[in-house]
Amino acid sequence: MDFTLSKKHEMARTLFREFAEKEVKPLAQEVDETEEFPRGTVEKMAKAGFMGIPIPKEYGGQGCDVLTYAMCVEELSKVCGTTGVIVSAHTSLCCDPILTYGTDEQKQKYLPDLASGRKIGAFGLTEPGAGTDAQGQQTKAVLDGDEWVINGSKIFITNGKEADVYVIFAVTGVVEKRGKQIKEISAFIVEKGTPGFTFGTKEKKMGIRGSSTYELIFTDCRIPKDNMLGQQGKGFGIAMHTLDGGRIGIAAQALGIGEGALERTIAYTKERKQFGRTIAQQQNTQFQLADMATKAQAAQLLVYKAAMTKDQYTQDHKTAYGVEAAMAKLYAAEMAMEVTTKAVQLHGGYGYTREYDVERMMRDAKITEIYEGTSEVQRMVISAALLK
């Protein structure tokens, strides 16, 4: 087993770090304060190829692996959690299901624009009554001639109003399974501007405040029959499989937030003096930093392992990576929350102010324990695999 990154991965990290420091970090505080989507940064990321890292070149992507993509989200999130999740939701939740389940025509139609960043992607599964219980879907799609007619709404949609292409889920019927009537869910691709597709309220969030979280409303929204993604009735599986991949992106975001908070805390504790010496010279600080770094390192190993396992899946279409992804997300999210909380504590009163990045990072960290499957869901996924 070799824990050394290849030279190309090291160079990719250098690129992501340089970009993050130069283009993203200077705006992070402003993006948080104004809650404005960093459109300019997304355009720069598109130019640098960050919006299609694991998408094959034949579809306009970069043709890199999932590990490189995870490292990109990690480095961006070290300085700005908002920017990290924009890339993650776009890549994992929109590009990936189209690549995995799309027909050749759908891939040719949507992926080049998405992978090049000319268009932004989003994913709509959650509804007011369907969070962890995705079976609680109320949004319906009915076939009328050559069109699906969608009615319903989706909430908490990342990249909400800024996206151009949406992968959404709707009930297309009822089927009997083991004597029970269950909803048949299907996946669809919906484009912005389709009549009947509008936006509801913008969420005012605790963290990742620039990420444009909106409600999507479908009122007699007609889309071509060909815009069904995958087979009819396979939507639940598509959603779950997509989220398995998405969790690697969110785990990488959480990892980056934790690492970013650690970096800032190391720098701060070496400067801040109390009782005539820096607080880094106090043993309590040293022990806290040691714990934070150890957990961040453990999280990194889990995230990279999950990413590399998904890379294996890309090669053989067999290797399962759901448990690895769940473990990575569970651990990295809880690490991010713990490390950012300690970071604020070690910054003292200053850490509680918006002048210091760790305050924002602590708020950004919380969502990683919630979206794309709460920590409780991750524990369900992991334990189900253990006990099956």
Binding site: L15, A48, G61
Partner: protein, 260 residues
């Protein structure tokens, strides 16, 4: 059009500077980056490639690890990379370096050669013009803009208070300023391709029409008497005065030293 860009791996000024006992830089022990002027030269070449279509070859001379800057250049969009490396070439000053690079360039076809104005480790600005002398082609230095006009190149050459517009028939050598442009980022896919690509490695035997007496430390007329890191200044004088008194104090000191 064929463009050759000469780049140099230089110590990152953010890292520490280390010297060999002979006074030359210990490059193996330092963090390294692509020299900023060279990177601007590469970006200029890539823009010409985007605009007019061109094959961009990047050449560097250095230790085997200088391969990294070639991969970086290819990840930005260069087509080929050539590393000139050989123990006998080590310790070269600008004369021996330009002889070496000219020897390598004689193996290549080119319409335009672009080098950086100067490297941040030596700051001589000599290698580019010297190469043009060895190859007997025109040189335009300090380029702040480069355009192609048929078989010629039109360059804005920066001066302190003005710029000159010069036109030269190709083949021609241009030295680029870091201010020329904002170099593009590598792309992740470009990095993967760059590491899958082969780098051509040339040694002494591959250099064309160069005498041994012009190569390496022995072929370098420059003698380094002594080299050192930045000399630390003393702590200076500290005074605690209010604003008005401070100004008077400083003005008094400057007068005392006949500065004003």
């Amino acid at each position: 059009m064929k463009i050759v860009v000469c780049v140099k791996q230089v110590p990152d000024t953010k890292g520490g500077v280390k010297f060999n006992p002979d006074g030359t830089l210990d490059r193996g022990a330092m963090l390294a980056i692509m020299n900023p002027d060279d990177k601007a030269g590469l970006e200029a070449a890539l823009r010409l490639k985007d605009q007019y279509g061109a094959e961009v070859t990047v050449v560097t001379m250095g230790l085997p690890k200088a391969e990294e800057v070639l991969r970086e250049a290819m990840a930005m969009g260069a087509d080929k990379g050539i590393l000139v490396t050989d123990r006998v070439l080590g310790g070269a000053d600008t004369w021996a370096t330009s002889q070496t690079l000219a020897g390598a360039l004689r193996n290549l076809e080119y319409d335009l050669i672009i080098t950086g104005r100067q490297a941040i480790d030596g700051d001589t600005a000599q290698v580019g013009p010297q190469i043009s002398e060895h190859l007997n082609i025109p040189v335009i230095s300090y380029a702040q803009d480069i355009k192609i006009d048929g078989d010629s190149v039109i360059v804005e050459r920066q001066y302190d208070d003005r710029y000159h517009v010069l036109k030269a028939k190709m083949p021609c050598l241009v030295t680029a300023l870091a201010e020329l442009n904002e170099p593009r980022y590598m792309t992740p896919g470009g990095i993967f391709d760059a590491y899958d690509a082969d780098i051509t490695v040339w040694g002494r035997a591959d250099l064309k029409d160069v005498e041994d007496s012009n190569l390496g430390l022995k072929g370098s007329p420059t003698q380094i008497a002594k080299a050192s890191d930045k000399v630390r200044k003393g702590a200076g004088e500290k005074v605690n005065l209010d604003v008005t008194e401070s100004v008077d104090y400083i003005v008094g000191k400057l007068k005392e030293k006949h500065v004003i």
